[in-house]
């Protein structure tokens, strides 16, 4: 089975440890992982801020980079949601704008890419059919189901089932788990006060769990949450779910 890892620009640049963890994890499960270097960003920062046209070349680039892979796996719920929800929409909007040539290219690219694209936990549970990935992580952990994972992708209990099968891991309930952490891409700076207030509430709920770490399926939310926790001198550290699932020796990577 040949899987193309869509690591995403945020992980590539700021959290390479997550990408490395996905490679470790998938290879341990017998998957051949490939990293096509033509990939970059899914275009979400542009698209969500209103620069749909600027996202078009990135749609084409992403689809082309993964043209040969049976599966495209990404450790980011929001980038997976971008591909699944926004890519077809971008093509449809181009058609509605009266740009049939571009629309056809965009639609073809989206149609090829969308059905092969999986968020990491979807790939593990739905495609590989595993919930016990052989991980050991003897620490208390709480899980923040990010908005795109929860509502756009509908990951439901997949991440939780994976975590429950990690040896030694104690899962702590997070109060108000389904509430947004306040990141929201450019929202974090355009409406900094509200974003920070949401982040502070989330950070407080996380700290109250008493867990050693908070994990999620999306590092962009974790950068915001982690930045808030650090500013408030909270002892809780942030970890991508993949980093926990990759861990077999119990040591935080």
């Amino acid at each position: 089975m040949r899987v193309g890892l869509f690591v995403t620009c945020v992980n590539d640049t700021l959290r390479p440890s997550t990408g490395r963890a996905v490679v470790t994890l998938l290879e341990r499960l017998g998957v051949r992982v490939d990293f096509p270097t033509a990939q970059s960003c899914c275009g979400q920062p542009l698209y969500n801020t209103g620069y749909r046209h600027g996202a078009e070349p990135l749609l084409l680039r992403t689809a082309a980079a993964f043209a040969d892979h049976e599966y495209v796996v990404t450790p980011s719920a929001s980038c997976a949601a971008m591909v699944r929800d926004a890519y077809p929409r971008i093509a449809a909007r181009a058609a509605a704008e009266g740009r049939p040539g571009e629309a056809a290219r965009l639609r073809a690219a989206a149609e090829r890419l969308v059905p092969r694209t999986y968020e990491l936990t979807e790939f593990l549970v739905d495609v590989l059919g595993v919930v016990d990935v052989g991980a050991r992580f003897p620490h208390t952990v709480t899980y923040h189901p990010t908005c795109h994972g929860l509502r756009a992708l509908g990951l439901r209990d997949r991440p939780r089932r994976l975590l429950e099968h990690v040896e030694g891991l104690e899962l702590r309930e997070l109060e108000g788990a389904d509430e947004c952490c306040g990141f929201g891409g450019t929202f974090a700076v355009k409406n900094a006060a509200v974003s920070a207030a949401m982040g502070a509430d989330k950070a407080r709920a996380i700290t109250r769990t008493g867990a050693a770490a908070v994990c999620a399926a999306d590092n962009s939310c974790l950068l915001h949450i982690g930045g808030t926790l650090a500013r408030e001198d909270s002892p809780v550290r942030t970890l991508h779910l993949a980093e926990i699932l990759a861990c077999t020796d119990g040591v935080v990577p």
Binding site: L14, L46, Y47, R93, G184, N191
Partner: protein, 489 residues
């Protein structure tokens, strides 16, 4: 004097202020979280909720698509039943029509049923200018009116007020508007309700003109429907001699059967009730029963322009249940006033910029007043994809594009204040499309990581004032892959 939303600052500034107000945040948090949980329970009772929701969206879409058929049908049936139909292109025209109608009765006072659309047109202020006093009779609207305040929620306009504040408003202000509050009024909800009841009763019995909106208008019979919880609406709709209803054209449904869908969707979504306590329906006038004169003012005020936008038009499905406000984490912190219109929260963020156009910095800022968390879409009983419309409107702001204003299609230019961001986005888009350049930038950042500041100057402060900056790793994933897997990047 009634306050208006004119000249409100853009969302981020207003929201930053209200976010600092601890009492407001506590009030809003308590109120929205309580109703949130109740709504979820009420909705979970119905097995076919998703199908009802799809039907609610489909019927509205179809009706909106054929308004040119249903509105004349509605007019015909209202007229046949003894009512008079007026058409208002905008808020001023609607206000003028209503003012003239009240003047023609010779009355100087009216009682009002809670209505969003007359908030939208600023009817009370217009009546006041013409020397006509409008009395709000919904409890929360009464609190807002007595307090010379602005509504901050669709269903509970005084949601930002606590019990004690309400007691103070009643005690200090009721006398200016009629019967004073009872001596020694406490802040017990039952006492407050009783004070309002006594204050309002004399108005119900005295006023000869009632003004309402409507939740639905049934085209096949010309029937109007108002749903409410307090019974004040029923009083205003039945006791006066003249009834004037101002209704947005999007409130039309074709048949009574269609009501079946909405009378299930609306109460469960708004008050978490299986059925709302009062559902009033009337068709024109009836001899010796209820108002002798009935006028329906059909309001456009930006609705047909909104209808012309194929992504944005879904906002017109809205049945004003306020479920999206109650789940919105931004609304919960910013409060309703920051949205600068009677329509706050997620629906306001997509409706106001469309009804008014991207007319000022406030309207331009509203599509950005969301983290796109999607909670609003999840609860919306008519499945309005609010995040989709927000992103679409953001595009109109930053890129410009085609819009319809006053029935004419034009192309608007990108908003000026986004020039810097546009340049940055263009640069980012370019770098993302040239991975070699991206790689050089990553390496530069890695090499200089020891000297990165902990706090950023300028616009970056918006991040680093409250959050640590992420540390730049020594090696990007790309470089690690190339180094360990020996593949040429």
């Amino acid at each position: 004097m009634s306050r208006t939303y004119l000249g409100m600052p853009a969302f981020p500034r207003a929201a930053a202020e209200s976010t600092r107000d601890g009492t407001l945040r506590a009030n809003l948090r308590h109120a929205t979280h309580t109703i949130r949980a109740k709504r979820a329970a009420a909705v979970a009772e119905l097995e076919d909720w998703e199908r009802l929701r799809a039907a609610g969206a489909a019927v509205k879409d179809r009706t909106l698509h054929h308004l040119d058929h249903y509105l004349p049908l509605l007019e015909e049936n209202v007229t046949r039943a003894g009512g008079t139909v007026h058409w208002a292109a905008d808020a001023d025209e609607a206000n003028r029509i209503v003012t003239d109608l009240v003047r023609a009765t010779g009355e100087r006072e009216v009682v009002k049923v809670k209505s969003m659309v007359t908030q939208e047109t600023g009817l009370n202020a217009a009546l006041e200018e013409a020397g006509i006093r409008a009395y709000e009779t919904d409890l929360a609207e009464l609190i807002v009116q007595l307090g010379d305040d602005l509504p901050s929620h669709i269903l509970v306009p005084a949601i930002h007020r606590g019990r004690r504040e309400i007691r103070d408003v009643f005690r200090d202000r009721m006398a200016d508007w009629g019967r004073p509050a009872p001596e020694g009024l406490t802040d017990r909800p039952a006492d407050l309700a009783e004070a309002a009841r006594l204050h309002l009763r004399e108005k119900f019995l005295r006023c000869k003109v009632g003004i309402s909106g409507a939740n639905f208008m049934v085209a096949e019979t010309g029937t109007l429907v108002v749903v409410e919880s307090e019974g004040n609406g029923r009083m205003c709709l039945t006791l006066p001699e003249t009834l004037i209803s101002v209704v947005g054209i999007e409130k039309t449904v074709p048949t009574w059967r269609d009501l079946e869908i909405y009378l299930q969707l609306l109460p469960r979504s708004s008050t978490a009730e299986r059925m709302n306590p009062y559902t009033s329906m009337w068709t024109g006038t009836t001899d010796e029963d209820g108002p002798r004169d009935f006028h329906l003012v059909l309001l456009d005020n930006g609705r047909t322009d909104t209808l012309a936008d194929e992504v944005g038009r879904q906002a017109l499905r809205c049945i004003r249940c306020s479920a999206c406000l109650n789940v919105c984490p931004v609304y919960e912190r910013a409060g309703g006033h920051a949205y600068g219109s009677p329509y706050p929260g997620p629906i306001g963020a997509i409706l106001t910029p469309q009804l008014r156009g991207l007319a000022s910095p406030l309207e331009e800022s509203l599509p950005f007043a969301s983290s796109l968390c999607g909670a609003c879409y999840e609860v919306c009983p008519v499945a309005i994809d609010i995040p989709e419309v927000l992103v679409h409107l953001r595009e109109r702001v930053v890129e410009g594009g085609p819009v319809t204003v006053g029935g004419n299609r034009t192309v608007i230019r990108p908003a000026k204040r986004h020039a810097l961001e546009r340049a940055a986005m263009r640069a980012a888009g370019w770098a993302f499309d040239h991975p070699a350049a991206l790689r050089r930038a990553q390496r530069l950042a890695a090499r200089t990581r020891r000297v990165h500041p902990r706090r950023l100057p300028g616009p970056g402060r918006a991040w680093s004032d409250t959050r640590e900056l992420p540390e730049v790793p020594e090696e990007s994933f790309r470089d690690w892959w190339a180094r360990t897997r020996g593949e040429r990047p």
